[in-house]
């Protein structure tokens, strides 16, 4: 028998019991769409997390105020100072760009409109270069702004949108913590970093923050290395430079790659776990196939006898019934994938910030799994059919 004949025969068999076949296919549809959606979901979460981490800039590492292995991380007071950032920039033998940051949350005002969530970031002029973050209008902070403690600010996209609402903000005055700041630039949209809206920021000269907020405790020092290969040795040098002034528990140096690795591990476990849970539902679908095929073989015993009497070999009968099981699983697989695409479209429409798309890897895994499932659970009933004794089968009523 040719593949075409086997397929035709199997489809005829399935058509004979439409409702039953459809219900069996439904089991596979649920299993396949569960696999596709859950794997895609976890891969999407991974790509969003890595995307977010990468959005901080490329080839960078971060010096933070405390060693995460020390016990009092939560209550640590930063011992990092602007002078440390300067020293890294001067003494690190690799080609590095350094930008310090002090964060403060306060009320910002324009006219009658206010925002209480905006983060005031005191930083240096090279932040756009270090963080790969462009200014879309106006300019960023300059050295002279820092030297003269100027009351100028560059605002994030969310601040611009909410407070100025289409009015050109450049040259206007933003009231920060009761003081007037002249807006000199607007940053491009950056989006969320986990649950922090990076666009809800106002950048002001670090020297101005030191003066008005009376603090010089840095929250972060971000270091950019021009060559990716130099990240590790440059980090070692930075550790040595800082160790001269600070206790080793007072600072922590971590590269973007290390942060990514941690999230990769977490999301990989998540993907495997969700995939395995979904696979269970597909296995249940497979058991459904086996159940239905066993019933079909019993019901069609006489048909098997007739086919054998006119010359069907055991292998012909085996392939006919195996093909039915595989067709059920493949049909379920294809419809399941279609259902997943529709579900992904609906999720994306309902939650526009979450760009949910179906992963090809998930589709392939699900199809392969469905096919193997159909074959595995179809073999026993098909084998049973193939090995029926022709006389017994012919006299079955």
């Amino acid at each position: 028998m040719t593949l075409h004949e086997i397929t035709h025969l199997s489809l005829e068999g399935l058509r004979a019991n439409r409702l039953r076949s459809l219900l069996t296919v439904l089991g596979v549809i649920i299993g396949v769409s569960a696999i596709v959606l859950l794997i895609s979901l976890s891969l999407e979460v991974r790509s969003q997390i890595t995307g977010t981490i990468k959005s901080l800039g490329s080839n960078i590492y971060v010096v933070s105020p405390a060693n995460p292995q020390s016990y009092n991380v939560q209550f640590v007071t930063s011992k990092l100072r602007p002078k440390h950032a300067k020293e890294i920039a001067q003494k690190n033998s690799y080609n590095v760009a350094v930008t310090p940051a002090i964060f403060r949350t306060t009320i910002v005002k324009y006219g009658k409109r206010t925002r209480s969530t905006t983060v005031i970031t005191g930083t240096s002029p090279n932040l756009p270069y270090v963080r790969d973050w462009k200014v879309v209008r106006g300019r960023f902070l300059e050295k002279s702004d820092l030297v003269s403690n100027r009351k100028v600010c560059v605002i994030g996209e969310a601040v611009n949108r909410d407070l100025f609402r289409g009015v050109d903000a450049i040259g206007r005055t933003l009231v920060i913590n009761g003081r007037n700041f002249k807006i000199i630039g607007i940053m491009e949209r950056k989006g969320l970093f986990f649950n922090v809206n990076l666009d809800d920021q106002a950048f002001i000269p670090i020297t101005t923050v030191q003066k008005f907020f009376n603090t010089d405790e840095l929250n972060f020092i971000t270091v950019k290395v021009s060559n990716a290969k130099h990240i590790e040795p440059s980090m070692d040098e930075t550790r040595k430079i800082l160790a001269k002034h600070l206790d080793e528990n007072d600072f922590h140096v971590q590269s973007q790659g290390q942060t990514l690795d941690v999230f990769y591990q977490i999301t990989s476990i998540l993907t495997i776990m969700l995939g395995a849970i979904a696979a269970i539902s597909l296995v249940v679908g497979g058991i459904g196939i086996m159940n239905i095929m066993t019933v079909a073989v019993t019901e069609r015993t006489k048909e098997i006898g007739i086919r054998k009497a006119v010359g069907a070999k055991d292998s012909d009968i085996l392939f006919q019934f195996l093909a039915e099981a595989i067709i059920i699983s493949l049909m379920g697989g294809l419809v399941g994938i279609a259902v997943s695409y529709v579900a992904a479209y609906l999720i994306s429409s309902l939650f526009p910030t979450f760009h949910f798309s179906i992963s090809y890897l998930a589709v392939m895994v699900a199809m392969l799994f469905a096919f193997s499932m159909g074959t595995f659970f179809g073999v026993y009933p098909a084998y049973k059919a193939a090995n029926l004794d022709p006389i017994t089968a012919l006299h079955y009523e």
């Binding site: 004979a16 006898g305 054998k308 006119v310 010359g311 070999k313």
Partner: protein, 247 residues
């Protein structure tokens, strides 16, 4: 010689009990003959048919079809012989209920390795030759008993078999349809087809050329039919009588 059966013994084992169904049967069937096997139920005639038809294997003895021994063949080789050399006509027709008359006739082609180009034409020709040209797409439940048996005969002929094995071919149909089936089988035999038929009805057996009587798994008697009945003439006679009764 189309068929040769030598010292065939068949013993069924039901647990520890051994039930002999055939106790050493030998017979030979020449090409173009029409042989009936008669006997009461339990005489072993169906067992003999199953063994000749490669549906079952004997416990002892050998069977040859066209000089090829079938008793030592494996399941796959037996399937090949059933497809190529044997045409079955069963008492209960054994047609696929969901398939049309045409699809039923074409069924053996599905398992044959012949080129597939003229299959449909050949099946249609056979359906015409058994008088079912107007019933081609009908399913078995839309056909009468006699018509179903004609479909079965067309199916039996489709792969040009060496022998037709008919197991009580008139057992499930009315007497007139039975005569029509016998007329069809006689026509085929007249054209050279070898037919081996099992029946318990002596008047039906009289349509063949030779009768083998079986009892308790042994051949007890063989007879040559001297005055062979002609089913076609019987049908004409019946029609004349019916016409006379009507008038």
């Amino acid at each position: 010689m189309i068929l040769s059966v030598r010292n065939v013994v068949k013993i069924y084992e039901l647990g520890s009990i051994k039930v002999p169904a055939l106790r050493g049967v030998s017979l030979e069937v020449e090409k173009g003959s029409f042989v009936s096997i008669m006997g009461p139920s339990g005489s072993g005639k169906s067992t003999l048919m199953n063994i000749i038809g490669c549906l079952d294997k004997p416990t002892e003895g050998r069977v040859e079809i066209e000089g090829i021994e079938t008793t030592k063949m494996d399941r796959s080789e037996l399937a090949y012989v059933r497809n190529k050399k044997i045409g079955f006509v069963f008492q209960s027709f054994n047609l696929l209920p969901r398939a049309s008359a045409l699809a039923n006739v074409m069924l053996p082609f599905l398992y044959s390795d012949q080129p597939k180009n003229h299959h449909r034409d050949k099946a249609l020709k056979l359906l015409r030759s058994v008088g079912l040209e107007n019933r081609i797409m009908h399913k078995p439940n839309e056909l009468s008993g006699g018509q179903k048996q004609r479909v079965a005969i067309a199916r039996a002929l489709v792969n040009d078999p060496a022998i037709i094995l008919a197991d009580e071919p008139t057992g499930n149909i009315d007497s007139r349809s039975g005569l029509e089936i016998m007329a069809l089988l006689q026509q085929l035999n007249d054209k050279g087809m070898t037919i081996l038929m099992v029946t318990h009805d002596h008047s039906i057996a009289q349509h063949s050329r030779r009768i083998i009587h079986l009892s308790d798994g042994r051949i007890i008697r063989e007879e040559i039919v001297k005055e062979r009945k002609c089913a076609l003439k019987e049908l004409e006679k019946q029609s004349t009588l019916e016409r006379e009764e009507m008038s």
